[in-house]
Amino acid sequence: MVRKHKVGLVALSGISLLAAATLADPGFAQDRPGPSGSNAEVADSGKQIFEEICQACHMPDAKGGGEAGARVPALAGNRNLANKDYPIIILLKGRGGMPWFTDILTKPQIAAVITYVRGHFNDYKDPVTVADIDRIGSTNPPVPDCNCGH
């Protein structure tokens, strides 16, 4: 099933950084294509979401790319993902060149894609649920640092 991206987006209390302007619609009169592409939709399965969104940067094999100091980190074989809160916080809040995805993905979609990335490219089989997303949304923990440069 495919869903229009504007329906049921994550709205989190306690995270004021998740703001009106979105990465999909950068607002404030940037150069941009204009009012179109509005029917672009994201699928609901974790695998498809990975392919339609994440692999634009993390690459199809989830091994990332670039070099130290200008790198998209690998999601495959990534020990930071052992703790499921880590990727949840990153997807909700963004960090550096990693955008937040609250404006184009729903909570179930965020849960699905993290479950897929942790289970398929790593060996962390416990699923991430919408309840996990809500828990992070309400406790609003700080964004963890990374050593993405390495």
Partner: protein
């Protein structure tokens, strides 16, 4: 106030006299303020190039990044007397000011393309248009001898496509625009005549509004929007006017209200109404990178290419940038008194930079949007010959977002390049995640909706850039929100010790070259002040 310009102090000064007066008393800043209030010059914060002079003998500045912000900084600081060096990650100058031509290679994370365009053809993967009020960009184009030509922006004869409108058949923007205002005018006239707005408008205004709706909406005698010769004069014809026996034109049917609304054409109308999207629009003749090349002609000799900065340190004597030569693998350090850093925040956030935690947090709170461009070289200009479309954009709700027809060399023979995709957001992620070949195939599929017979048959070669896979930026442009501006903007742009940041991301003119240049001018003016005081 000694030489008051008007001998007759009883007569109110003319506008020009007043401005001269204010200029003399308050300097250019006051003059600019006053002009803004009087309704002039509110278009740009540009007040002319900075007049920096008198750098301390031997004072040096290191500039990181040779995009427009970095090269402008180098250009003006050199003029002011500083010794300047630029370090640049890539093997070329210009940064996002970039054009690709036949024979060029495009190196993305995970792929390399060789562009196969015919001589003279190009794609601007990044910036492509310059609004008439981007005074800074226009000023330096003139100063550096960059030839500008018209960029066709609004084209009434191009298309709008929505899957859910008109059975998925693209409609001419002109027809939708005329239908839209016709229906809106008819409805407003109806409510006025029914007295529905009598408490909101005076009788006098009601009469004027009715007249306005009749003219604006091209309504008929009974104040309805219907097929007719008058509407045809705006909307075009089933049979256009001609000569002789069959000279009389035959108007076509108008679209229904529901069909018109389902195209959401008000969004296109709104888009073209934005200050930055209005005409007159310009482009450098032959490719946007002519601006970068013109700057490089002035400061190119100061640039060390293929130099990836990995660490930025400062102490009370100066700054040190550590780097790796991407060709030889050699490492090195460059020292200077002062530093202007124009490295995009996505990458800067991964470097070891000696600034306060507040500034680091600001850098790390700035993700970049994503965008993809796809150039499709066609064997001939069928959009001109077969569709009478000369420049401008056809919009779609598919992932590609739009196709845009080339300005320049109109009526030319031989191949020409259509911009076959320019999405942000979801459409851009989807396309960026594909290999370049698949991206080009998807653009051909989707764009065929506009020109089904020709699009694939006339295709010759393609080239594409996914900004999220450009190794030196990993994104398109900085994405600010009201909250992140509030929390971080001042921390990002403040000068700390000997380091100041500049570039598109350090401006309120996000994703425009104007923003990169204005930010650079502001940064070097503050740097010069501090260096002069030191």
């Amino acid at each position: 106030m000694t030489d008051f310009p008007s001998p007759d102090f009883l007569a109110p000064p003319t506008r020009r006299q007043l401005l001269t007066m204010i200029g003399k008393v308050g300097g250019t800043a006051a003059l600019y303020q006053a002009m803004t209030v009087l309704g002039h010059a509110a278009e740009s914060q540009f007040n002319g190039p900075p007049k920096l002079s008198g750098a301390r003998p031997g004072a040096s500045v290191l500039v990181l990044g040779s995009g427009l912000a970095g090269m402008l900084a180098a250009y003006e600081l050199t003029k002011a007397g500083y010794k300047v060096q630029i370090l640049e990650f890539q093997g070329r100058t210009g940064g996002r000011n970039y054009s690709v031509r036949g024979g060029d290679t495009i190196a993305e994370l995970g792929s390399t393309q060789t562009v196969g365009f015919a001589p003279g053809n190009y794609l601007n993967p990044g910036p492509w248009r310059i609004p008439y009020h981007h005074r800074t960009v226009l000023h330096y184009c003139k100063e550096l001898g960059v030839e500008l030509e018209h960029f066709a922006q609004l084209n009434h004869n191009a298309f709008v496509h929505h899957k859910d409108a008109y059975g998925g058949k693209p409609q001419r923007y002109r027809d939708l625009y005329v239908d839209y205002k016709g229906h809106v005018a008819e409805l407003l006239a109806k409510s006025l005549n029914a007295g529905a707005l009598d408490t909101a408008v005076t009788a006098d205004d009601k009469a004027k509004l009715l007249e306005a709706m009749k003219d604006w909406g091209v309504l008929d005698k009974s104040m309805a929007y219907t097929k007719g010769v008058k509407v045809g004069e705006q909307r075009g014809w089933d049979r256009p006017p001609g000569g002789g026996v069959n000279g009389a034109p035959i108007p076509g049917d108008v679209g229904s209200l529901s069909d018109t609304l389902s195209t959401k054409v008000w969004q296109q109308i709104g888009f073209y109404t934005e200050h930055v999207m209005q005409t007159t629009m310009f482009q450098p003749k032959g490719g946007m990178d002519h601006i970068g090349k013109a700057f490089a002609a002035k400061v190119g000799s100061l640039v060390r290419l293929n130099t990836h900065v990995t660490k930025i340190a400062q102490d009370d004597k100066g700054v040190t940038a550590s780097w790796t030569d991407t060709k030889t693998g050699a490492t090195g350090e460059t020292r200077a008194d002062w530093l202007v850093c124009t490295i995009p925040a996505t990458v800067l956030g991964q470097l070891d930079i000696q600034v306060s935690d507040k500034k680091k947090a600001a850098i790390r709170a700035l993700p970049y949007g994503n965008s993809v461009k796809i150039g499709l070289e066609m064997k001939r200009r069928f959009w001109e010959t077969d569709y009478a479309i000369y420049g401008g954009h056809s919009f779609t709700d598919q992932d590609i977002s739009l196709i845009s027809y080339p300005t320049g060399n109109w009526f030319g023979d031989g191949p020409a390049v259509i911009l076959g995709a320019y999405p942000f957001g979801i459409g851009a992620y989807k396309l960026a995640g594909m290999t370049p070949e698949k991206r080009i195939a998807a653009a051909l599929d989707q764009g065929s909706v506009f020109h089904p017979a020709e699009y694939k048959a006339e295709f010759r070669s393609g080239a594409t850039v996914a900004w999220s896979r450009m190794p030196w930026i990993l994104g398109c442009c900085a994405t600010w929100t009201e909250e992140s501006r509030e929390a971080h903007y001042q921390d990002l742009v403040s000068m700390e010790g000997r380091i100041v940041l500049a570039g598109e991301h350090c401006s309120y003119y996000g994703c425009w070259q104007e923003g990169a240049l204005l930010s650079s001018l502001d940064a070097i003016s503050r740097l010069h002040q501090r260096a002069s005081a030191a």
